[in-house]
């Protein structure tokens, strides 16, 4: 597809901000249109990186879930972790990646709570690794905003 979707969004965003918004009457219409323009900018950035961000999260969570299996003895939780750590997206569609992402994130919540409840050094170590991974994941998800002028 040429032009790419992100280029189309950025072009439309620029047009909205430069030509359309100033011609609108009233604070509400102008403010709303500027906000729509801002989100078009954000969506343009997301278009290129959305699959990559989800893929990186999924692989990071897969490692944690597999490592967590060694610390978990509850059969039900072990089954949850095994299923989640083995999950693979049915396609590269964002919806398919999100389905696996959500399954893994739910399992991470259970694993995190379980290792915190151990109250030992091994549990603390994995809990800390999970927090570090969540920092990395959250960092990947912050959308880019236009530089203030």
């Amino acid at each position: 597809m040429r032009p790419e979707a992100d280029h189309i969004l950025l072009g439309a965003c620029a047009e909205l901000s430069a030509s359309i918004a100033p011609a609108l009457p009233g604070d509400y219409a102008t403010g709303t249109l500027n906000l729509i323009g801002l989100m078009m900018f954000m969506v343009a950035g997301e278009y290129d990186r959305a699959a990559d961000v989800r893929h990186a999260d999924i692989e990071a969570m897969r490692v944690l879930l597999r490592d967590g299996l060694a610390l978990v003895h509850d059969p039900s939780l072990r089954a949850t972790l095994e299923a989640a750590s083995a999950a693979t997206p049915a396609s590269l569609r964002i919806s398919a990646l999100d389905a696996v992402h959500d399954q893994m994130a739910a399992a991470i919540i259970d694993l995190h709570a379980a290792v915190e409840a151990r109250h030992d050094r091994t549990g603390e170590a994995l809990a800390t690794r999970i927090w570090s991974a969540l920092v990395d994941m959250s960092d990947r998800h912050v959308p880019s905003l236009p530089s203030p002028t």
Binding site: T32, L38, A105, I108, I130, V135, V142
Partner: protein
Amino acid sequence: MDEIRQRFARYLAARMEGITDVEIVTAARLHGGASRETYRLRARYLQEGATVERGFVLRRDPTGSLIETERDVEYNAYRAYHGTDVPVPEPLFLEMDGQWLDRPFFVMEEITGCTAAPPFQPDPYGPLRDRIGTQFWNILGAIHRADPAARGLTRCLDMPAPADCWRQALDYWAAVIDADALSPQPIVQGAIRWLRRNPPPAPPRVTVIHGDYRTGNFLYDDTGTIRAVLDWEMCHLGDPHEDIAWAADPLWAFGDPTRAGTMIPTEEGLRLWTQASGMAVNPESLRWWQVFAMVKGLAIWLSSSREYATGSNRDPILAFSGWFCTAAHNRMLAERLRDLTLEECAA
């Protein structure tokens, strides 16, 4: 907008005794106000033989909102503080009858010649920063110094026991997250577990909590005088550290934790608050409420995501809050919890 004009004119004519020939000469919806639709309306009418022009601000319940609160909470807060050293607009009418504008609303006086800072700009106040920042913390101290019973607020707000403030607040917002999150949230769930494991000390006394006291929620004029503190829809009674932590949340300061709301250094702000409130800041409490502030923020942003996704409210501010604010608060909260966990492991 013509329909709002006509219907509000009919309302004023019915509500205000002794006025006739009511006409709404200007009407504009204000941007923002994601929890309630906000309109600025200027009315012209005859009163005792003279033509009068007067500005009003109308806050109407939306069809969907970030924050589910009763409009009378906000109205009663304005009524409690109007005429005190906490500047607020004069509340005029609280209307629950849907016949006038379909949904409940309240009306307050228009504050003219003022502006509110946008919340996500690195330096919204420019040279007025220090002057506004000083007032910002003094006013917060004045809010907390007030006796809730003497202000009439214990008649309409629940009074928690001091030791229960944290639990009530956390239970409420954790339930919002459970109800509204559209996907599993490992960061905020981990933070909620940390908060339950590490409860804060009880506050010296239970105070009025504004609930959304931050940059962007007050009006100031071009001399840098704060003329009105707005957006009291989350007002309740609780631990004053809740408001302090919310005001100083890095989300309102472009991620800078040292300068609340991009204004004066937070350390200086806490000193001013201590003087104005007559209470001391407890560092242990503040640490807990700082984590709580991000959890509460995430609850609000996750609710806005749901409202937008389900189509109950298509205001773009909900999409922005649900996306950008969730992402930004998740990152700040994850960093905070990682650091707290490392501290606990080292201890």
